[in-house]
Amino acid sequence: MIDLLPDDDQKALIDNFESVLAAEAPLARLRDGQGDLALLARLAELGWFGLGLPESAGGVGLGLIEEALLFREAGRFLVGPRLFAAVLGAHAAVGAGDPALAAALAGGERGACLLSGDGRHAFDRQPGDSLVRVDEEGIRLLDEAALVRAEPIDGLDPAIALERVELDERGVRRLADRTLALRTKVLVSASLVGLAEAARDRATLYAKERQQFGQPIGAFQAIKHRCADMAVGCESAWTLTALAALCLGSGRHDAAFQAAAARIVAGDAALAAVRGNVQIHGGMGFTDECEAHLLVKRCHFLLQLAGGTRLHQEALLGEPEPVHGR
């Protein structure tokens, strides 16, 4: 069965994600610098952190594709990186045979924060957090004690509390296998797609409404074609991200190939879309008041979250060509 379109259950799930986030996560919330703590507590309550976690670990037991649908919507609404930390941390705990920790992370009783792949930054950290670090080799779940030094610094994305950190990884608790590194790529890709789609939709809407020289600016080919390119970027990035999620979810041989490819295509699509969205908004897009810049800043954050694009390019070149069929 080849079906890259959501079935009815999945459609309902998407609608649910969207209606909750539309109500509770307007982008205006990002200006208070609270790191999305309140929103994330609410999402934990709704059970979203455990969506793809086995029921034995207190999760909902859905697949990676459903998790990707969640991160796509989360990307669209710029949900903070603690979502990554909770979901990936819980999966890591399951993989390491600690369902109680997984349940605590998924339920939000225990906090987790994400470290950058190179271990140099912590994002939206809270006292008592488990630390989650993912790179090409796999995932590390660290105790707070592993943090030798943490210095708050100004970040590009004003909605994320950034720290420069130094780690003592002798405190590493668990090292899970490579599939969690691939899962991370898929979820980052999905978030990038959501961001790209948000940019596409905002640019398109503005191009329909804004009049200049006597017609909506979207009637001018320079604008229309740029929006069209965003649409193609979103379509290519999402379909490939969905394919990667399905391949990894079913343990296909080409999962690593598709996951790296998805991250590359989604990264390029998102960067082009968020930048194009500023340009189409013109002078308005350059202001802090317009939300276009929030998408640009989040995009650069996501592009570094699990290593830069060149890293994924090397990973992709290291994989064999996928064989058709199983």
């Binding site: 069965m1 379109l5 379509e235 490939l240 394919l243 079913s250 058709h324």
Partner: protein, 391 residues
């Protein structure tokens, strides 16, 4: 959402692979003329006789009526087996035949359908006209009813395989006072009728598979009008829903293979520093990885298109996204090939031949069947709902 193959589909793949391995012609396909026609029709005949002719055609017309996934499997294995392209059989199998099935009368169907599937009749297409470019509705070739005939005068262009075709699906204006999409008729034109002149067009890649066709009072019996006089636009459009999600599959599979060949090429030729292989150069590697990822995205878009086709009757404007993406990606792949070939990129012989030919031939992919500019208009207006405006 799902991406799995059933046991039956896997068995089908094995069957296809086995048949192709045993039956794909080993001789080189002639590129032009009657030799090419003989090759292409023989290959169609062989497929038909073994039960593989017209994989997308309904069983009642001698086809295989395969599911979309089976068609995908067929095309994947077809490219993998290095089977020859349908060549001069393409229009008959993928466009004219389906149109006659859908809109022709019993007599038209009985005459033409069996001859196509058996590889006995070759068709070409007569839609585009000089100067019309991307504006397909601006048909000027006239068809005047005179007794039992339509008398056709005018010119068509970009007709592939006109020199070897038996028939042409021809769009003419039969109502002289009509504008744009109205007043057109879709007729079956016998390419041997008096008054037809075929002049080959040489392309920038040096080949002559396209032609101009001139009509000087060509008499076509009214019985050859399909779907009725004045219904031409609707008839021409009806075929589009036949192919649905599958039209880009062969292109996608082929381009995927091309990128893998390019990666192999980069391991063989000397890189831009004149010392290491191209594949050791970080800039080349970055480009190759991006192309590999993009061709994977093209594959995913194709699967999404199949998914849509499984649910909907008519294809949506999303098709323009795949066509646009493919055309520009094909060119990026071959731009990279020219750079990787470096000093050899000025050769049309040996290792460079296939690459430089496709580089030149590939200029058509952002022009033919709708330029990239037109496709972006379609996406902007029909996918995103942006206003048409004054340009």
């Amino acid at each position: 959402m799902d991406f799995t193959f059933t046991v039956e589909e896997e068995a089908f793949r094995e069957e296809v692979r086995t048949w192709l391995r045993a039956n794909v012609p080993t001789e080189k396909r002639p590129k032009e003329g009657q030799a090419m026609r003989a090759f292409d029709t023989a290959w169609q005949r062989r497929q038909h006789e073994s039960g593989w002719g017209g994989i997308a055609w309904p069983v009642e017309y001698g086809g295989q009526g395969l599911s979309l996934v089976q068609q995908l499997i067929w095309h994947e294995e077809y490219v993998r087996a290095e089977a020859p392209p349908p060549g001069c059989m393409f229009v008959a199998l993928s466009h004219a035949g389906p149109t006659v099935m859908l809109r022709g009368n019993a007599e038209q169907r009985a005459l033409h359908i069996p001859r196509i599937i058996r590889g006995e009749a070759v068709w070409c297409q007569g839609f585009s006209e000089p100067g019309a470019g991307s504006d397909l509705a601006s048909v000027r070739a006239r068809g005047v009813v005179d007794g039992d005939d339509l008398v056709v005068t005018g010119q068509k262009v970009w007709t592939s395989y006109a020199d070897v075709a038996d028939y042409q699906e021809l769009l003419v204006r039969t109502d002289p006072d009509s504008q744009r999409h109205a007043g057109l008729s879709w007729v079956i034109c016998d390419m041997r009728a008096p008054g037809i002149t075929v002049r080959p067009i040489r392309t920038m890649a040096g080949i002559t598979t396209f032609a101009e066709v001139f009509y000087d009072e060509v008499r076509i019996p009214l019985g050859q009008v399909v779907g009725g006089l004045g219904e031409g636009w609707s008839v021409a459009m009806s075929t589009l829903s036949f192919e649905r999600g599958t039209a880009m599959i062969p292109h996608q599979v082929e381009l995927q293979r091309t990128v893998e060949q390019l990666i192999a090429l980069a391991g063989e030729v000397t890189g831009p520093d004149g010392r290491r292989p191209a594949a050791a150069d970080d800039e080349v590697r970055s480009r190759l990885a991006r192309l590999r990822a993009e061709v994977a995205a093209m594959r995913a878009m194709t699967y999404a298109s199949i998914s849509r086709a499984q649910r909907e009757d008519a294809p949506g404007p999303e098709g323009a996204m795949i066509s646009l993406y493919f055309g520009e990606l094909f060119q990026r792949v071959h731009d990279a090939a020219m750079d990787i070939l470096g000093g050899e990129s000025i050769e049309r012989q040996g290792r460079a031949e296939a690459w430089t030919f496709r580089y030149l031939d590939g200029f058509k992919h952002t022009i033919a069947g709708g330029t990239s500019e037109i496709r972006r208009n379609i996406i902007g207006e029909r996918v995103l709902g942006l206003p048409r405006g004054r340009a």
